[in-house]
């Protein structure tokens, strides 16, 4: 046992490092730029939490997904690490000021790219030396960089403005192409790459094609005989999640709830805790659920729709089996399901016609229009708007709050259109690759590994449905939930809450 191991046990209570962690941490402590590619659930958080305690200076963690950031920060704080803070758009101005006033040199600050882009925040941060610049879920950088989200493109400048601290980027899903993007977008200097296989051997990969939506549902309902819980059921839409939860209740599976982004924050948290604490067996959710959920005993992840890429699929099934035990993922789909991800991709980018209408409809004769007004009139959503503004700004078509419509010509629109078209095609191709892998005859695991630039899999047993695993092979585990089935009246409940019985039984 060397010094690193001792500190691991003392500060974090872990007996030993998991594969990859020690090497990555060592590289970071050596002050190098590091790109760490570790599978889902492998323990990437420790790879920056650990160094942040050892180095001098602030650790800045850029995290692209807001809800993930919140979950992570509250979990870390709950686990006793009070040096962790967050800055994002969900905080009020006075909260932000408070956080900034609390920062010390050994703090770990989670921050959204938007906040980090703010000049005010940057100025405030300058009073602290930054020891480490972390980008978690770094694959997002690659994608969002291409979509011209200014905040992502600026990350490298921000890093420089903060004194070019060493940089650590982490992700579970990076194809070689994405790997290159990450290095480039972050200006990493001869980075050390620690790449581990994306493969999760303890998760069986099952796909089942159905003939139409009806049959898909029947197949799924039938599979409940085999599916081990706790389980997550992913649906494409909010209504889908609600309906499936309803169906399950009809079938007598009562320990179930739905979860989607449209619910109030309070209710979302409650459902999440119920699931974490094994009070629910099954949660029916949209992809709003899961990224920050650290539940180790999830046995099954079911998809009732087609994810839009292998990356998304891998991230979502990666919620299963974090305790290392045998788990399963089951994907039910029909041919028509492809429309959902394809529509989703189409909606991300403005079409040729939209661009024409927005900028050339001649609505405003004086040659300029307030950006907000244009956005309002055509109800352009935030994401697409940010994408557009970046381009307009670069082409000098924006003057303060105004867009100079007079300067926007056919040539410019053509170029924009060309770019968006290309991006759309790229995403469609990514989906097509995933679809192919689901529809094809070959081992799914190997296909996924090859997609990420790895050698095919050598797993012999419990691999995937193309290698002979059947739904009926899954062992139905006993429902784990230990929620009181008995309904107590309020006075007994209150007593039990506040006065634990001596035998520890609660």
């Amino acid at each position: 046992m060397d010094k690193l191991d001792v500190i691991l046990e003392e500060k974090f209570g872990f007996k030993s490092f998991r594969p990859g962690q020690k090497d990555i941490i060592q590289s970071v402590l050596n002050g190098l730029d590091v790109l760490a590619i570790l599978p889902t659930g492998a323990g990437k958080t420790l790879c920056y939490q650990y160094p942040s305690k050892m180095i001098s200076g602030l650790t800045i963690v850029v995290s692209p997904l807001l809800s993930l950031m919140e979950d992570q920060v509250h979990q870390l704080r709950a686990a006793g690490d009070k040096t962790v803070y967050q800055l994002n758009s969900m905080l009020t101005f006075s909260e932000r000021k408070y956080v900034l006033s609390q920062l010390k040199d050994d703090s770990m600050l989670f921050i959204s790219p938007e906040m980090l882009g703010s000049e005010y925040i940057q100025k405030q941060l300058k009073s602290h030396p930054v020891g480490l610049f972390v980008v978690d879920e770094a694959h997002c950088i690659s994608q969002w960089g291409h979509e011209f989200r200014t905040d992502y493109l600026r990350l490298k400048e921000v890093r420089k403005a903060l004194g070019s601290p060493p940089c650590l980027a982490l992700t579970a899903t990076a194809t070689p192409e994405v790997e290159d993007d990450i290095k480039k977008e972050l200006h990493m200097r001869s980075p050390v790459v620690h790449r581990f296989s994306v493969n999760r051997e303890n998760i069986r990969l099952i796909v089942e094609e159905a003939n139409g939506v009806k049959e898909k549902e029947q197949l799924f309902i039938k599979s409940l005989e085999y599916i081990e819980t706790p389980a997550i059921i992913y649906t494409a839409t909010r209504n889908g999640a609600i309906e499936i939860a309803e169906k399950l209740k009809e079938k007598g599976i009562t320990n179930t709830a739905y979860y989607h982004g449209g619910m109030s924050k309070e209710d979302r948290l409650l459902v999440q805790y119920q699931f974490l604490k094994d009070e629910l067996d099954i949660i029916c959710a949209t992809n709003a659920f899961g990224m920050g959920v650290n539940k180790s005993n999830i046995r099954t992840v079911v998809h009732l729709h087609l994810p839009s890429s292998a990356e998304q699929y891998i991230q979502e099934i990666g919620r299963a089996g974090r305790d290392g035990k045998q788990s399963s993922s089951v994907l039910f789909f029909t041919k028509e399901d492809r429309r959902v991800p394809l529509n989703f991709i189409a909606q991300e980018f403005p079409t040729e016609n939209e661009l024409k209408v927005w900028f050339q409809s001649g609505l405003h004769t004086n040659g300029r229009i307030e950006a907000e007004e244009l956005k309002q009139i055509y109800r352009i959503d935030e994401t697409r708007w940010k994408m557009l503004s970046y381009y307009l700004q670069k082409a000098d078509m924006i003057d303060g709050d105004y867009i100079l419509l007079e300067k926007i010509n056919d040539d410019m629109l053509n170029r924009l259109n060309h770019h968006f078209f290309g991006r759309k095609k790229k995403k469609e191709t990514r989906f097509a690759l995933f679809e192919e892998l689901v529809l094809g005859e070959n081992c799914i695991r190997s296909a996924i590994l090859m997609y990420f630039g790895e050698e095919p899999s050598s797993l012999r047993e419990n691999c995937c449905s193309k290698c002979g695993v059947k739904l009926t092979d899954l062992k139905k585990g006993g429902l784990t939930s230990d929620i009181d089935k008995e309904v107590f009246s309020w006075d007994i409940q209150l007593k039990r809450m506040f006065f634990p019985t001596t035998d520890g039984g609660s």
Binding site: G80, E95, Y273, L494, R496, M497, P500
Partner: protein, 355 residues
């Protein structure tokens, strides 16, 4: 039709066809503007105001369009009124839904008091029930940093031991819940998160409430309103719970900006001078005055409008049963300003509420 329909139709019917859909929306959301404040008083909407803070404009518009389409409401020149069919639908809904006893939107929802109190209470209950079991790490049931910080400070600074804290909390909650029908008391305890069980969502608790999550939520909120009322009336008996809100002072609905204006007015400055000192538009200062006149009976209303004019306005308003400023102005036929009419109407509220 569900609770949301009852709520929306109720508001629209109370607005007597004299306001737009937008006006109704602001009341639901509890917008802090002079117009909304005045509407709440004019149309007797104190119990309702600010109760639907989570409602998005998009969903609201959807509802309104739906009502128009099926003929429940009529949009006349941007004024919304209930049709005969709508009135019928509402009276049917009235048989089912109502605002539960003790519910007071303006006092507890509009001010945000219920929210702050419940956030603190639920986190304190979670903390104390964990600490009593010597469980020191748990993920907080609210992500609000302000609440977390408040509770942490509270626990740190209280002279009570964990056991004493537990006893007070238990006793005070027991005392209150014991006064409620058991279905309500059950609803309350089922929302609490403790090591024994996580709180249930309104969706999971709605069986006893026409399977309507929103109705369940309003029902739950009414319990908190009752608790807040008890706590403020009997500070001695609720020693611990009253500490949860003792730092939240002003529950009056006067905006910060209006308070600034009030200070200057009390110093004897005229409207024009206040405009200059504050660098604000005339209409803004007038809005402040309306706000102040509604909330403060000492407001020197006669400084801005004479007794006779007030009486004239009120007479017209009651004779034609209207609160439309334009109509009143046309009828009066003198050079009374809209501002003066609005000031006069604040008195209408007082008189009817006394009677």
């Amino acid at each position: 039709m569900s609770f949301i329909d009852w709520f929306l139709l109720t508001i629209l019917s109370k607005l007597e066809g004299q306001r737009s859909a937008g006006g109704a929306f602001h009341i639901l959301k509890g917008k802090r503007s002079a117009q909304t404040i005045q509407d709440v008083h004019l149309f007797h909407l104190k119990t309702y105001v600010g109760s639907m803070k989570d409602l998005s404009r998009e969903n609201f518009d959807k509802k309104i369009n739906e009502y128009i389409k099926v003929g429940l409401i009529i949009n006349n020149n941007d004024h919304i009124s209930l049709s005969v069919k709508g009135t019928e639908a509402l009276s049917n809904l009235n048989k089912r839904f109502y605002l539960p006893e003790g519910y007071d939107g303006s006092k507890y929802e509009w001010t945000g008091l219920r929210e702050v109190f419940w956030n603190r209470l639920s986190l304190i209950v979670q903390s104390v029930t964990h600490l009593i079991r010597e469980e020191h790490s748990f993920i907080p049931v609210t992500y609000q940093l302000e609440t977390q910080r408040w509770v942490r400070n509270f626990l740190k600074n209280t002279p009570l031991s964990v056991k004493e804290l537990r006893d007070s909390l238990y006793n005070e909650l027991y005392q209150f819940l014991n006064t409620l029908p058991s279905s309500r008391a059950n609803l309350f305890t089922n929302r609490l998160s403790t090591p024994i069980a996580t709180g249930r969502t309104f969706d999971q608790l709605c069986v006893a409430f026409y399977e309507d999550p929103l109705y369940t939520k309003v029902y739950f909120n009414s319990i908190i309103h009752q608790l807040l009322y008890q706590v403020s009336e009997r500070k001695k008996e609720y020693g611990l719970l009253s500490k949860l809100i003792h730092d939240i002072v002003s529950t009056k609905m006067i905006s910060e900006s209006a308070k600034e204006t009030e200070k200057l007015l009390n110093k004897g400055l005229e409207l024009e001078e206040i405009m200059q000192v504050r660098g604000l538009k005339r209409s803004t200062i007038e809005d402040h005055f309306i706000e102040l006149a509604i909330n403060n009976h000492e407001f020197p209303i006669l400084h801005f409008i004479c007794k006779k004019d007030i009486e004239d306005v009120l007479t017209i308003a009651s004779r034609f049963n209207t609160k439309r400023l334009r109509f009143i102005k046309d009828k009066l036929n003198n050079d009374i300003s809209y501002f003066q009419i609005r000031l006069a109407l604040t008195k209408a509220q007082e008189e009817t509420s006394i009677g």
